[in-house]
């Protein structure tokens, strides 16, 4: 009996040890995979995009192995808290609401968002003017916050992936959709699917909803946030950031 217990304890101890060393090595990063050009899938199913390259570069800087974990957008923060991964590199804006649940690194890029509509279409972007107008946004984004706050009487439709939003915009089920400008250009407007569509109106402006740039989310008060901020500064300084940036965008998307 005693021997058996000792053996069991030893086995359990060994397993914990193995688990903890493995944990210390690999950094598990939550990514999305349906948000071109930040995060998308190649034909063979492998992940690519600005966010993915950024995650890999930051892991390299921290000298930790990167394990990319795919997660649909609306479960991104819940899965972080459920320990499915340790950091989110998925174009997540730093907002007050999210800071209640998670901690953020410093921003790693900052680009504006705009409406997209059919070319030549005309909308009155006011509370009154958007009554019943069909606006599509990705569920659980800063844009959902924005559109629900500013146009509560619009017919707001929430989607699981950005690709579904584009599909419904082309199918004519939506009048307007809201998106990050760079994501919209590469993922839609500059593709054959986006022919006949254009940006509508100005860049959105509402820090409370839209946040202060895009950062890396980690569990609340995880010191990883500070390490990642330092790593972002380091890859800015050593030129890695610029290499990745230029691979996808004609301009520096870091912002001011």
């Amino acid at each position: 009996m005693t021997i058996k217990n000792t053996l069991l304890a030893a086995a359990a101890g060994a397993m914990t040890l193995m688990a903890s060393t493995a944990m210390a090595d690999a950094l598990r990063v939550g990514v999305e995979g349906a948000y071109a050009p930040f995060s998308m899938k190649e034909a063979d199913g492998s992940l690519t995009g600005f966010d993915i390259d950024m995650a890999l570069a930051l892991c390299a800087k921290l000298e930790r192995e990167c394990v990319l974990v795919e997660q649909e957008w609306d479960g991104m923060i819940p899965a972080l808290m459920a320990q499915k991964y340790d950091a989110i590199v998925a174009s997540m804006s730093i907002t007050e609401d999210r800071k209640k649940k998670v901690s953020f690194s410093a921003k790693y890029y900052d680009t504006p968002s705009r409406f997209i509509a059919k070319e030549g279409a005309s909308f009155d972007l006011t509370l009154e003017g958007t009554k019943g107008v069909k606006i599509g946004v990705l569920r659980g984004t800063t844009l959902q916050c924005y559109v629900e706050k500013h146009f509560p009487d619009a017919d707001i439709k929430l989607y699981n992936t950005q690709e579904d939003v584009f599909a419904d915009l082309t199918a004519g089920r939506l009048d307007l959709q809201l998106n990050n400008t760079l994501g919209a250009l590469d993922g839609f407007l500059n593709t054959p699917q986006g022919e006949g569509f254009a940006f509508y109106g100005d860049d959105l402006d509402d820090v409370a909803c839209l946040g202060e740039g895009v950062g890396i989310a980690v569990r609340k008060d995880d010191p990883l946030a500070g390490e990642l901020s330092a790593a972002i500064q380091a890859i800015r300084a050593d030129g890695t950031y610029k290499t990745i940036n230029d691979k996808y965008f004609p301009v520096d998307i870091y912002g001011n």
């Binding site: 609306d74 479960g75 923060i77 819940p78 808290m81 459920a82 609401d97 999210r98 209640k100 649940k101 998670v102 599509g136 569920r139 659980g140 984004t141 959902q144 916050c145 629900e148 439709k157 929430l158 989607y159 699981n160 579904d164 599909a167 419904d168 199918a171 004519g172 089920r173």
Partner: protein, 261 residues
């Protein structure tokens, strides 16, 4: 009044910080969940009703119709029973929308561009396929004696179907149908994947809006459990009433009908 407000503020504070479940937030959004439940019930029962209307003639044709008819309907039920409801819904919603011809047709504007209609069509065809098959089974197992007796009484095939075969087939299909109703309710969550704000849609909205992990799901779950409980109770009552003749004789000797039998 003052203490009441501070008590509520205290409750809200507890709910937002220490409580594992942000119950005040759920309470604040309860009206949305009720709206979602109504959408779920509307889709489920409308699909069941329309599917049932389609299933009765198809089941009769499957059981008694000419071989060609029966096989054609079998192909339809096989296709809809053999594929996931999610795939069927996507086909109606995203699939049809891909075609220019569909988008230009007269059906696009009022029907196919609307997620509600796409979902209703998919659900209706799906439940009709399942209902057809088990109703066909029930029709085929009508005791030969009952049919002979009705023939001996000089009933026309139509009257025989209306007065003898269908009523007894419906009774025997009742337990299977209660499962179908509950499965259709469970399947109705698919509506939320094509932007409809059904119960799960509202749950996901809440999670998305406030970046929560499970509050929306747990609330939706409680609502679903309540609805399923209600459906089960209704079916148990219906079975008690319509399948009374199948129960062991001693079981309800108290009822006068049995006592005199």
């Amino acid at each position: 009044m003052e203490t009441e407000r501070t008590f509520f503020a205290y409750l809200r504070h507890i709910s937002e910080t220490t409580s594992p479940l942000d119950f005040v937030l759920i309470y604040d959004n309860l009206d949305r969940f009720v709206g979602g439940a109504l959408m779920t019930l509307q889709l489920t029962f409308l699909a069941l009703f329309l599917g049932g209307l389609l299933a009765v003639p198809m089941a009769i044709a499957r059981a008694y119709g000419r071989p060609g008819w029966s096989q054609a309907i079998w192909c339809y039920t096989y296709a809809f029973r053999g594929t996931p409801l999610l795939v069927q819904t996507y086909l109606f919603y995203f699939g049809l929308g891909q075609f220019e011809a569909v988008r230009n047709s007269f059906l696009w504007g009022p029907v196919l561009s609307d997620p509600w209609w796409c979902v209703l069509i998919a659900f209706t065809l799906n439940t009709a396929a399942y209902t057809t098959e088990f109703l066909k089974g029930a029709i085929e197992t009508t005791p030969a004696g009952e049919i002979e007796a009705s023939k001996a009484c000089g009933m026309s095939p139509f009257t025989r179907m209306r007065l003898v075969v269908l009523p007894s087939a419906f009774r025997r299909a009742l337990p299977a149908y209660s499962n179908e109703v509950i499965f259709t309710l469970h399947g109705s969550v698919i509506a939320s994947t094509v932007t409809l704000q059904d119960l799960l849609g509202v749950g996901r909205w809440l999670n998305g809006r406030y970046y929560l992990a499970y509050e929306g799901f747990i609330t939706a779950m409680v609502f679903y459990m309540g609805i399923v409980l209600l459906i089960s109770l209704l079916f148990r009552m219906a079975e008690k009433r319509y399948l009374r003749h199948l129960r062991p004789r001693g079981a309800d000797s108290a009822t006068p009908a049995q006592a005199t039998a």
